[in-house]
Amino acid sequence: MASKQQILEAIRRQSVAPVEHPGVEGPWITYDDAPAQFAAALESVGGLCHFVADLPAVNAALAEIPEFSAAQRIYSSVPEIGGANVDMASIDNPHALDDVDFAVFSGEVAVAENAAVWVTDEHVRHKVVYFLSQHLALVVRRSQLVDNMRQAFEKIEFRAGRFGVFISGPSKTADIEQSLVVGAHGARSLHVFVVE
């Protein structure tokens, strides 16, 4: 612990004038039509937004997606949706999930300004499926849609051992000559279902 003490002492030796924390309250951007803004933002980052009336309608919409129809191995964290055939609870080693073609998760918060959807590993034994699955669908309630990131963080809590991630669109890279390639390491496509 000698290093810790030395670093802290070195920092405390410096005299730095006090600066108040400014707080994080706005006014921040809001939208007249948040769902339309969310859909447009999602499209701009390579994802697709579907507005549906209820959960059964999600199943109907999924059936229209070619990647879903072609999927062999499907995981879903939402019991009513997806017709899953991967039982995560019975799998101990996350490495065994590397063949998942399509995964469906429920999102807790959706943000209109940047198309980000907050998901966590609560009730998801192996979070790796968020990233290992070839294609991804997220299901959020219309009531969970907020305008901006400030409102999003008001709805989020952090607890020990809990992992959470904002996902905005499918994974992507532009590392070869700034050419956008969708499907870097994570999901190659992303659908978000906003349920009324």
Binding site: I7, V19, H21, K127, A174, S179, A184, A187
Partner: protein, 459 residues
């Protein structure tokens, strides 16, 4: 400048020798800068956000020791283990120790400028570990055995044909293939094998939250997440300035980071880690490596605000035209030219002069670092410490002799107009005429300023 120091003008001259490539590089970065502008203009509160972010970071600097202790206590409560490293060597030793204790042989890394700063990869490789950089750009430069040339776009200096040729040799893609989608897919396939075979994952840290003990890592590719959700060991390496006081502060920083970096509204993945997965270990290494020194300087303290978005590089006319490798530092460009001399002023004495003082970097910086002012301050500092090259020292002395004596100034002006500019080319563009190396001297004006002034005022 000593001969061992980084000679930015010479390295930049090499880069611009290939004129079409230099222009291509310039345009590629300007394209990113333009996307950043569009993203910034989409938010009416952009300037308010910058001001908030800057003030939060200055609040962190003013209370850094307290926030670090708070972070350690909370991260420990979350189940992570926190380590402290005074310098790069100690950091590398801690990481190696953790890997050895877990008997790890294969390591996947996601982007971390701190580990570049500490030269972690070569250190681990010397100790027999297999280290794979999994960010596509970083993997490309790793396969080429060179450092990244940009902190967000590590392979921005490389053409797709060169990537195609490299992948053909290294992973057997089709000869002559250079389609970015084809190449990225091949990399995806190969790196998935690396993720699945890895014993440990190393990541950087974009933000560490004192209040919760959590860390946030932002990527577009998803590599940090794959690298930390398969192996049982996650090591996160961060500079001590990455602290933020509260989780809510992310609602400011996450709105600024990607918009400033690439013009995206947010990165694809903004991952919040609070302790390890069940049955796994998470270690966080806090690194000083000179940062507590910078903290003590009123002139340079604000450089610790940096969130490593790269906006100052994309906009810098010198960076765009000289390439990241001409700086010879892990963090190049305007911010790198401030941070590097803080570590070794003599070695990096040329960097603060790689700047036209146009101020564009300060205008785009999301945390309002007064970059061009700090660069100017470094020039003075380097002069005071005697690190200027003799050519500059002598010419500055000469300039002073002339400028403070009106009679000599007038005489020198006369000689320049009437004699020097009429000299034969071969004589005029001599090796000591640095200004004339790549441009012509302007024709002498018909009248001097003094003559015009006297005419106008009828005297």
């Amino acid at each position: 400048m000593s001969h061992s120091g980084v000679d930015h003008p010479r390295l930049a001259a090499e880069f611009v020798k290939n004129d079409s490539r230099a222009h291509w590089h310039d345009q590629a970065l300007w394209f990113v800068r333009a996307k950043r502008d569009k993203a910034a203009q989409s938010l009416p509160e952009w300037e308010t956000l910058r001001e908030r972010a800057s003030q939060i970071k200055r609040n962190v600097s003013a209370n850094l020791a307290d926030y670090l202790e708070e972070f350690e206590a909370n991260a420990t409560k979350m189940g992570a283990t926190v380590h402290w490293a005074r310098d790069a060597a100690e950091h590398n030793q801690i990481v190696l120790g953790l890997l050895e204790r877990h008997n790890a042989k294969r390591v996947v890394k996601s982007k971390s400028m701190l580990t570049e700063e500490c030269h972690l990869n070569p250190f681990l490789e010397r100790h027999g570990l297999n280290v794979v950089d999994t960010d596509l750009g970083e993997w490309i430069v790793q396969l080429r055995n060179e450092p990244p040339s940009h902190i967000v776009l590590p392979a921005i200096h490389i053409k797709k044909e060169e990537v195609g040729e490299l992948f053909h040799r290294k992973i057997g893609t089709d000869s002559g293939a250079s389609d970015p989608t084809y190449l990225a897919r091949a990399a995806r396939k190969r790196l998935r094998e690396e993720f699945l075979a890895a014993d440990a994952g190393i990541t950087g840290v974009n933000f560490a939250i004192a209040e919760t003990g959590g860390i946030v890592v932002c990527t577009n590719e998803g590599n940090a997440d794959l690298g930390t959700s398969l192996p049982k060991l996650h090591i996160a390496c961060m500079g001590i300035e990455k602290l933020i006081p509260r989780a809510d502060d992310l609602s400011v920083f996450l709105r600024l980071l990607a918009r400033s970096a690439t013009g995206q509204p947010i990165t694809t993945y903004s991952s919040h880690f609070h302790g390890p997965r069940e049955g796994c270990e998470m270690h966080i290494v806090l690194v000083d490596n000179g940062r507590s020194n910078i903290l003590g300087s009123d002139e340079f303290r604000r450089s610790l605000n940096c969130i490593r978005c790269g906006a100052c590089m994309n906009t810098c006319p010198v960076f765009r035209r000289s390439g990241g490798h001409s700086y010879k530092t892990a963090v190049p460009g305007p911010i790198g030219s401030i941070l590097a001399p803080s570590r070794d002023a003599q070695q990096y004495a040329s960097l603060p002069f790689a700047c036209s003082l146009c101020g564009s970097c300060s205008d785009v910086c999301p945390v309002k670092i007064d970059l061009h002012h700090q660069l100017l301050t470094w020039r003075r500092e380097i002069t005071v410490r005697g690190h200027l090259p003799w050519t500059k020292r002598v010419s500055m002395k000469m300039a002073r002799i002339v400028l403070v004596r009106p009679a000599i100034y007038r005489m020198a002006g006369f000689l320049l107009r009437k004699v020097v500019l009429r000299m034969p080319r071969a004589l005029l563009y001599n090796p000591w005429n640095a200004w004339g190396k790549s441009r012509d001297l302007p024709p002498p004006p018909k009248q001097t300023f003094r003559q015009i002034y006297q005419q106008r005022h009828g005297k």
